[in-house]
């Protein structure tokens, strides 16, 4: 098999990847911009290259602004490899991927991982029923096929994306029947000390307040401090039960969109065994990186939400910074030129960072999703419950890898993406141990399932083969 070599391989064509590709492409470097979706933009600017005017109006100005990043694809040296699932990244900078059912690979001097965020798992009884989807899924359906969910439609959980989706639904003329907010009641008080700093970049707050006012004006029922969520139904969701302000509620629904924040997608950084740190406020791990995205591995950088949640605009800043550092590493620019060109993006990152502690404290995840009730399925693929994980702790499991071998959690096709944080968190609660002490799943290739035939077709160049005894 031919394996092409590039100056830089960028994984992910979202804001960070596109912004980096633009800088590198302008400098005449060869770039493989590899992404799983058919079009550029990542999840946040999904279908940005093809969205019509009405779609952009519904999705809002922040979405439409993503068009500005598409210039990256115009550089001769930038090859956009779309529809490709990367299933292995080696420390030697080889990427194996699957494209239209065939295995392929490439290698690069430098690797930039720009794989963004995923939605935090929000486990509660019934969250596996058909008709329950993530708010991110709701947005994707708006962005790509332009689909609105059937009524009654309920949104449940916490975080800006939930309110953004409700606002977009209203703009599209869909009646949102209720928002069931699970934000813990003490959060506002905990967030207030961060407010003065957040006001220094008050565009975020102004936007948030405008969204809330909009929803109020539209008469959307808003249940606050909701706890004890249970989705009911047999073949699909029929109703959501919960408790709010001392009263039990049961809302019929045809679709339930759930969301409780986003977390860095760490599949690649974990598979590479890079250093990670636990962020207690955001309740997630992130790879340890410097201002230019450098990781603990030589020649591998991370930019965007995959390095720590900061949002789409900050991701573009981080992508540019990583690209400048790569140009300096390649000898294309001097260190002083790098630093001079970096100053605007560094300042912008600082600006974005001001609102973050306030938002993080305001939208911390509710305890019932971190340490769910025994009967809750936490591993959707293998249908392992929270109670089972606790049983394994009683049997001596100190961390998620032992729990995995005792009960198969994390062994299904999603490879732990939707249970990893929960399983570690349940173990930490049960043991009374810190998350860093409990640790995370060992992630192994393939990062996405590939057929045995594809794997069998892989033939690596001689110089990549390790000496075998």
């Amino acid at each position: 098999m031919m394996s092409e070599h590039f100056d830089v391989a960028i994984i992910g064509a979202g804001p960070a990847g596109l912004a980096a590709a633009d800088i590198l492409g302008k400098a005449g470097r060869s770039v493989a911009l590899i992404d799983e979706q058919p079009g550029p933009g990542g999840q946040i600017y999904r279908a940005i290259a093809t969205a019509g005017e009405q779609r952009k109006a519904v999705l809002g100005a922040d979405y439409a602004a993503g068009s500005a990043l598409l210039g990256a694809l115009g550089h001769a040296g930038v090859r956009h490899i779309a529809g490709a699932s990367v299933w292995e990244v080696t420390p030697e900078h080889r990427l194996s991927y699957s494209l239209a059912g065939r295995a392929a690979s490439l290698s690069a001097e430098h690797v930039l991982v720009a794989t963004g965020a995923t939605e935090r798992p929000m486990p509660f009884p019934g969250w596996t029923l058909p008709g329950v989807m993530t708010a991110g899924a709701g947005q994707i359906l708006l962005k790509t096929p332009g689909l609105l969910p059937p009524s009654p439609c309920v949104l449940a959980g916490s975080g800006p994306l939930l309110f953004l989706l409700a606002t977009q639904y209203l703009a599209a003329g869909l009646k949102v029947d209720a928002i069931v907010e699970t934000t813990p009641s003490g959060n506002l008080a905990k967030a207030l000390p961060h407010l003065p700093r957040a006001l220094l970049s008050n565009r975020y707050l102004r936007k948030g307040l405008a969204m809330l006012a909009n929803l109020r004006k539209a008469g959307v029922a808003h249940h606050r401090n909701a706890t004890g969520l249970v989705a009911e139904g047999s073949e699909r969701i029929e109703a959501l039960r919960f408790r709010s302000r001392g009263k039990d509620h049961r809302l019929p629904c045809a679709t339930l969109m759930i969301h409780t924040g986003i977390v860095p997608n760490v599949q690649i950084s974990r598979a590479l065994n890079l250093d990670h740190a636990w962020n207690d406020l955001q309740q997630c791990w992130h790879p340890v990186i410097d201002a230019f995205g450098a990781t603990s591995a030589q020649g591998i950088r991370i930019a965007g939400d995959g390095g720590g949640i900061a949002g789409a605009e900050a991701a573009a800043n981080a992508g540019r910074l990583a690209a400048l550092a790569i140009l300096a590493d390649l000898g294309e620019i001097s260190a002083s030129e790098r630093d001079a060109r970096a100053s605007a993006d560094l300042a912008a990152l600082n600006w974005h960072a001001r609102a973050r502690p306030f938002l993080d404290a305001l939208y911390t995840v509710a305890p019932e999703f971190l340490d769910p009730a025994d009967e809750t399925i936490v591993c959707r693929c293998e249908e392992v419950t929270a109670g089972k994980i606790r049983e394994f702790v009683d049997l001596g499991c100190l961390g998620p890898n032992q729990a995995k071998s005792f009960g198969r959690s994390g062994m299904g096709p999603c490879q732990g993406r939707y249970c990893g944080l929960t399983v570690s968190s349940i173990i930490a609660h049960k043991r009374g141990a810190a998350m860093d002490e409990v640790g995370y799943y060992r992630i192994r290739p393939p990062l996405k399932p590939i057929t045995l035939g594809e794997l069998a077709s892989m033939e690596l160049d001689d110089d990549d083969q390790r000496p075998a005894a």
């Binding site: 005792f406 009960g407 640790g439 192994r444 892989m458």
Partner: protein, 370 residues
């Protein structure tokens, strides 16, 4: 001899099987186990209870493997009663398939020689392509034949590990998970086990620490010249049942996933996976079973086998520090029944097969001298 309390170092399949054997004999056992990301052969193994082809160069190892296979139904029942877990043991016989006539011929000759060395009691049969296809209809045209032996079988190794942990606790044993054992000191009649989180004393100590044995054995007058050898395993999505008996390289587990192995690399303490080796494993599997080509791989595993210089187990009792013993091998599943039902008794001074002595580490010194 060997009365009183036991410290078992290592909570993998070897240590837990020995601990279960001791605890079910009424001994007071404490197992010292490492943390979540320790190098664990137990998590990466293949689940075969396998006899054919083992001990080509050491007939006593063939006897021993077979004895363990015979003990398996008994251990299965003990664990079901003690832990309430069915380990999915099945011993329908097993198949070693060949893609190459020469390789088949050579292996059959070796197995025939082994059968002779064992006095004829070593059941297996070489089957040509058509006869193999009758047993396992899904084989591909490139399979030239295979050796079938009724001695072989398989089980679910993850259930086994869980059942042993549960069983040991149910029998009054203690498992202390935490940092690794740093040091073992001995005084006449007792031992002290030192970890970063404390020190424990015991009348006896059994080293079952896998690769860790190499470091710990000299502290109690034993020798464990073991080195890591990485094995890689591919696991697929669940498929409908297609394979009714285990083969050396491919087996279908109870829940439907297909496990595919195996490789032998000498890479030191690196339990990552390598694409080139995995591709070779996948190629071989699709030649055995072409229908697997479109089945998706959901996981791969690299785990470290614990290999002695001749690949055979080491069982030893310390003469310098009476009460200390060593159990180490790379076939933690196949031999778990022997470890629980024979080795634990041998450690306690019960009668054991005469050939147990050949598994002592002094054989390496003799080989070196010879």
């Amino acid at each position: 001899m060997a009365d009183g309390t036991f410290a078992v170092i290592g909570g993998g399949l070897v240590g837990m099987a020995v601990a279960w054997g001791l605890a079910s004999r009424g001994r007071k056992v404490t197992v010292f186990d490492e943390g979540d990301r320790a190098f664990r052969a137990s998590r990466g193994n293949f689940g075969l209870v396998w006899v054919q082809g083992k001990g080509i160069a050491m007939p006593d190892y063939a006897r021993w493997s077979r004895l363990s296979a015979q003990h398996w139904p008994g251990l299965r029942d003990e664990l079901r009663d003690a832990a309430g877990i069915d380990i999915e043991l099945a011993q329908p016989g097993g198949l070693q398939m060949f893609l190459d006539e020469d390789e088949a011929e050579q292996t059959v000759a070796q197995m025939q020689a082994l059968r002779t060395a064992l006095g004829g009691d070593y059941p297996f049969e070489y089957l040509g392509h058509n006869a193999v296809k009758k047993l396992v209809p899904e084989i591909g045209p490139q399979v030239v034949g295979g050796i079938h032996s009724p001695m072989d079988g398989h089980l679910n190794p993850l259930y086994l590990l869980r059942a042993l942990h549960k069983g040991v606790r149910a029998a009054g044993g203690t498992v202390l998970h935490g940092p690794r054992v740093e040091r073992i000191s001995s005084r006449p009649g007792s031992f002290e086990v030192h970890r970063a989180d404390g020190t424990w004393s015991a009348d006896n100590v059994v080293l079952c620490a896998g690769l860790g044995n190499a470091r710990l054995a000299p502290m109690v007058g034993l020798d464990a010249p073991v080195v890591p050898n990485r094995g890689q395993v591919i696991i697929t999505e669940r498929v409908r049942p297609f394979l009714n008996m285990p083969t050396v390289h491919v087996r279908q587990v109870g829940e439907g996933a297909v496990q595919i192995g195996d490789s032998k690399e000498d890479v030191g303490l690196d339990d990552s996976t390598r694409g080139d080796v995995l591709a070779a494993i996948a190629r071989r599997a699709t030649r055995y079973f072409p229908l697997l080509e479109g089945v998706r791989v959901v996981r791969t595993w690299g785990a470290l086998r614990v290999m002695s210089p001749d690949g055979h187990p080491i069982y030893d009792r310390s003469t310098a520090c009476p009460g200390a013993s060593l159990v180490t091998c790379h076939s933690g599943v196949t031999l778990a029944a022997a470890h629980a039902r024979v080795v634990a008794g041998w450690i306690c001074g019960e009668q054991a097969p005469g050939y147990m002595e050949v598994f002592g580490a002094q054989r390496f010194a003799l080989q070196a001298a010879g």
